[in-house]
């Protein structure tokens, strides 16, 4: 049975990235935090979407589960991508999608919701994403601005010096995507 082991794969999320080890085999995927503690396990039958995205110096694997959770694993090399793409097809019956990251530096784009994730897109490229499960409060300011505030508690855990606490989006009246929905930006 093919068993793929990767010794330095980080889990990305609120608070930065956590280094760890990843095992991928016909049962599914398993990531364990270096030094113990947090683990992420997604059974093969529970995986809905996989995608690759080239990031700085490596490739990121995005995993969306059927129960709406989403994980991003960072640190794959080009050779890993080729091997795993073949493996995911044959063993999981899933062909990973390819996504591109936007590095244009624009602060305008589109917002897309999928499960618990908010993605900010620049054209078809992804600028950044946020998990709404970490949002402690949302507020509307006037008719055009939506503010998301994040939980304070787990902000100090990972390898981040600066941690995002609040982000607001400006939705001009010309935007037709979210008309009449004041609970979400």
């Amino acid at each position: 049975m093919a068993d793929h082991l990767f010794n330095s794969i980080s889990l990305g999320g609120r608070g930065g990235t956590k280094p760890g080890q990843m095992r991928i085999n016909s049962g599914g995927i398993l990531w364990k935090k270096q030094g113990g503690g947090k683990a992420v396990e997604v059974d093969k039958s529970n995986i809905s979407v996989l995608f690759w995205m080239k990031v700085q110096r490596s490739t990121q694997l995005g995993v969306r589960s059927k129960d709406g959770l989403y994980y991003k694993f960072i640190g794959f090399r080009d050779t890993d991508v080729a091997t795993l793409t073949t493996f995911f097809r044959s063993s999981f019956g899933i062909t990973p999608e390819e996504r591109q990251v936007s590095v244009s530096g624009h602060n305008w784009g589109e917002v897309d919701f999928n499960g618990n994730m908010l993605t900010f897109l620049d054209g078809s490229k992804q600028a950044f994403e946020l998990s709404l499960t970490d949002v402690s409060q949302t507020q509307m300011q006037g008719k055009t601005d939506a503010i998301l505030e994040f939980h304070l508690d787990d902000a100090a855990v990972a390898n981040e010096k600066d941690t995002l606490m609040e982000i607001s989006f400006h939705i001009p009246n010309s935007n037709t995507q979210f008309v009449g929905d004041e609970n979400r930006p």
């Binding site: 110096r57 991003k72 244009s104 530096g105 602060n107 305008w108 941690t163």
Partner: protein, 137 residues
């Protein structure tokens, strides 16, 4: 590069062409200022996300009674007075804008450094663009 030479109304505002052009990652994720490419990089959910300096309107820092430091960055959005994005906002009808972000930092010295660097870079770019605009008239 010089492809930004059309100035502040440029709709071709681009900080980086490819993900490989981003500055190398550091051990600890933090706000970075890239003078050369005139961009700031913000740690958002485990990724370093670039914003062109021309999208930045103001930056402020503040500390609370528990000695926590905060950095607040306000971006240019359409509909505010003196916004340099009017050409963009016309072109990007229907777009949504990141308006403001707030970070808590563990390191007050880094906060002061970042705020100073961003202010300087903004000033430099603004001065160059207004000079260019004057020369064009």
């Amino acid at each position: 590069g010089d492809n930004r030479s059309s100035g502040r109304s440029s709709t071709e505002l681009v900080a980086y062409k490819s993900v490989n052009d981003l500055p190398p990652p550091r051990g600890e994720m933090m706000i970075q200022v890239d003078q050369k490419n005139e961009a700031i990089l913000l740690p958002i959910y485990g990724s370093m996300v670039p914003f062109h300096i021309a999208t930045v309107k103001t930056i402020t820092s503040q500390s609370d009674t528990n000695r926590n430091c905060y950095i607040r960055i306000i971006f240019n959005v359409p509909g505010t007075p003196f916004s340099p994005h009017d050409a963009n906002s016309l072109k990007n009808q229907g777009a949504i804008y990141v308006k403001e972000v707030s970070f808590r930092s563990k390191d007050p010295r880094h906060v002061n450094e970042v705020v100073a660097q961003i202010k300087t870079l903004r000033r430099q770019v603004a001065a160059r663009e207004s000079e260019r605009a004057e020369r064009a008239t």
